[in-house]
């Protein structure tokens, strides 16, 4: 549905987005993750047609954004970061104005506004000026704005940023609800959110895609490198190191800390998918070391994210 090829964006000489290739299918909820300044917002802004790419092409349903910007803008609903709307306008006036620009027929206008007010929970604030609204309510006006003409694609830039936990749950709920039939692309740096709502996760760092897949895939591909943390008493670093590296499957052993009275903390890295805990335990049992800590680090999205985005730094 959305086809992005070699997308690059330079701000003067700074490369914000570097040769991104992306294929987004109909009905997908895609989470765009990345640290601050990774190029998430820039990528989204190019998808909406607000920024012109420096090089590369974006095609939506086989229309090129260069040649058919209006047609693509019709298909996309966009919620920018921090939802900047006209502060003096009333919510109702604003949404009516948007409905006109987005070409909603006057006979359909009121039912549509009523439906969106219901969906986004705007009924009690329709008569208020946008400038008076709290951040969360403002965000909901933004969602109604984005969904006005029932677009096939929704692009949401950090939709839950600055909201309280209840509102976050509500917005996620709305996203899930719409996502059943629409393609949704949203950026976030809250990982649990991406895990909870997305079908597919794309992690970008320094303008490049460093991971792409659903959460299970990402975990599996990252799982190949397992970390096991050990804390031993009555041992010395060298013998621990040699004993552990002798185990089949352990790639490297790293000493984290070591004290004079023989308390040693080590990290063992393995690159096989096999569970090494049994072997390690048996090795230690054969010595007179005392095992006080033994922990296999579970790969969460968080550790994957950290690995992927810090490696390159």
């Amino acid at each position: 549905m959305i086809h992005v090829e070699n997308l690059t964006k330079y701000y003067d000489s700074f490369c914000a987005v570097d040769q991104i290739n992306l294929e987004i299918n109909q009905g997908e909820i895609l989470g765009l993750l990345g640290p601050n300044g990774a190029g998430k917002t820039t990528t989204l802004k190019m998808l909406t047609g607000y920024f012109k790419p420096s090089t590369g092409t974006i095609r939506v349903n086989d229309y090129d954004i260069e040649t058919h910007p209006l047609r693509i803008k019709q298909m996309i609903g966009y919620l920018p970061e921090s939802s900047p709307f006209y502060k003096d306008m009333l919510v109702y006036d604003y949404l009516e104005y948007v409905s006109k620009i987005k070409g909603i027929k006057s006979s359909d206008r009121h039912p549509r506004l009523r439906y969106l007010a219901e969906l986004c929970g705007l009924n009690h604030i329709m008569h208020k000026a946008i400038g008076e609204l709290s951040k969360g309510l403002n965000q909901r006006v933004g969602l109604a704005h984005a969904m006005m003409n029932d677009p096939q694609i929704l692009i949401l830039d950090e939709p839950t940023q600055g909201l309280d936990p209840n509102q976050i749950v509500e917005i996620r709920h709305i996203i899930k609800k719409i996502g059943q039939e629409k393609t949704i692309i949203f950026s976030t740096h809250i990982l649990s959110e991406a895990e909870a709502t997305c079908d597919r996760i794309v992690i970008i760092n320094r303008g490049k895609i460093v991971a792409d897949g659903n959460t299970a895939d990402l975990k599996q591909s990252a799982d190949r490198k397992t970390i096991i943390r050990l804390c031993l008493l009555n041992a010395d670093a060298d013998s621990v190191k040699s004993a552990l590296t002798a185990i089949d499957g352990v790639e490297t052993v790293e000493t984290v800390s070591q004290t004079d009275d023989g308390v040693i903390k080590v990290k063992a890295y393995s690159n096989s998918s096999e569970d090494l805990r049994e072997k390690i335990y048996k090795t230690i049992k054969a010595t007179d070391w005392v095992l006080v800590e033994f922990l296999q680090e579970a790969k969460t999205l968080e550790t994957i994210f950290r690995d992927l985005t810090q490696q390159i730094n």
Partner: protein, 234 residues
């Protein structure tokens, strides 16, 4: 094609729902009324010449005040981004905002129609120059609105937009009064650049294509420059 009307309507609503329109119109009426009628009875002539001769100078600071917010405000709060991601083209946006400025100028001129009507009661008014004057005023208003829209598209700051717009309008108004500063060879060109020069011609009741071409080209050049300024922001 008619997308620009939605933007036009929204801008007009903004003007007339908030106090801006009423404040600007009142100030305009007080200033023109005061200057015009303070000398009108001394001259003891039933014409509007005094009013129309004031107009370019007053317009050159009132109109930039009307148009300063059109783009600068959007750029400042960031709603410009939303506007651009909606299905509208640059020309819809520019045309809508320009038309809003022009209609606002028209709304400002409308109450002054009371002047010729009341003058017609007390004296023998020649309607030709009056009609020419109002036509000229609309053309001048259009040209200045276009300049104001351009100034507004250059900055996030409304005050800078105002000062910039007013400076350009003042220059165009006053340039043909400073002819003695220029070498003789370019006098004709400089005079042709003066907005006041062309306005005076039309306000005399003579509608010459050269004056029409001048105002229309000022509007076109300013709006096209606005387009280029917006394009640059991508």
């Amino acid at each position: 094609m008619w997308q620009f009307t939605h933007i036009l309507k929204k801008e007009l609503k903004d003007y007339f729902i908030s106090p801006i329109a009423y404040i600007v119109i009142s100030i305009f009426l007080i200033i023109t009324g005061w200057f015009f009628f303070s000398t009108f009875f001394l001259y003891d002539q039933a014409n509007m010449r005094g009013f129309f001769s004031l107009l370019p100078i007053i317009f050159s600071f009132v109109i930039p005040a009307i148009t300063m917010r059109l783009f600068a405000e959007e750029l400042n709060i960031g709603s410009y981004e939303i506007l651009l991601t909606m299905p509208v083209t640059f020309s819809d946006i520019i045309l809508g905002k320009f038309a809003a400025g022009l209609i606002m100028t028209g709304a400002m001129l409308l109450p002054t129609l009371a002047y010729p009507i009341s003058i017609a009661f007390i004296g023998d008014l020649d309607w030709g120059p009056v009609i020419g004057g109002y036509l000229g005023a609309l053309l001048l208003g259009g040209a200045f609105s276009a300049i104001g829209v351009f100034a507004s598209s250059l900055t996030h700051n409304q005050i800078i937009a105002f000062i910039l717009g007013a400076a350009i309008c003042f220059m165009l108004t006053l340039i043909d009064k400073m002819l003695f500063f220029f070498p003789e060879s370019i006098l004709n060109i400089v005079e042709y650049l003066g907005a006041d020069f062309h306005f005076r011609n039309i306000a005399r009741g003579i509608i010459d294509s050269r004056d029409l071409v001048y105002f229309i080209s000022v509007m076109f050049i300013s709006l096209y420059s606005t387009y280029l300024a917006l394009l640059k922001k991508e």
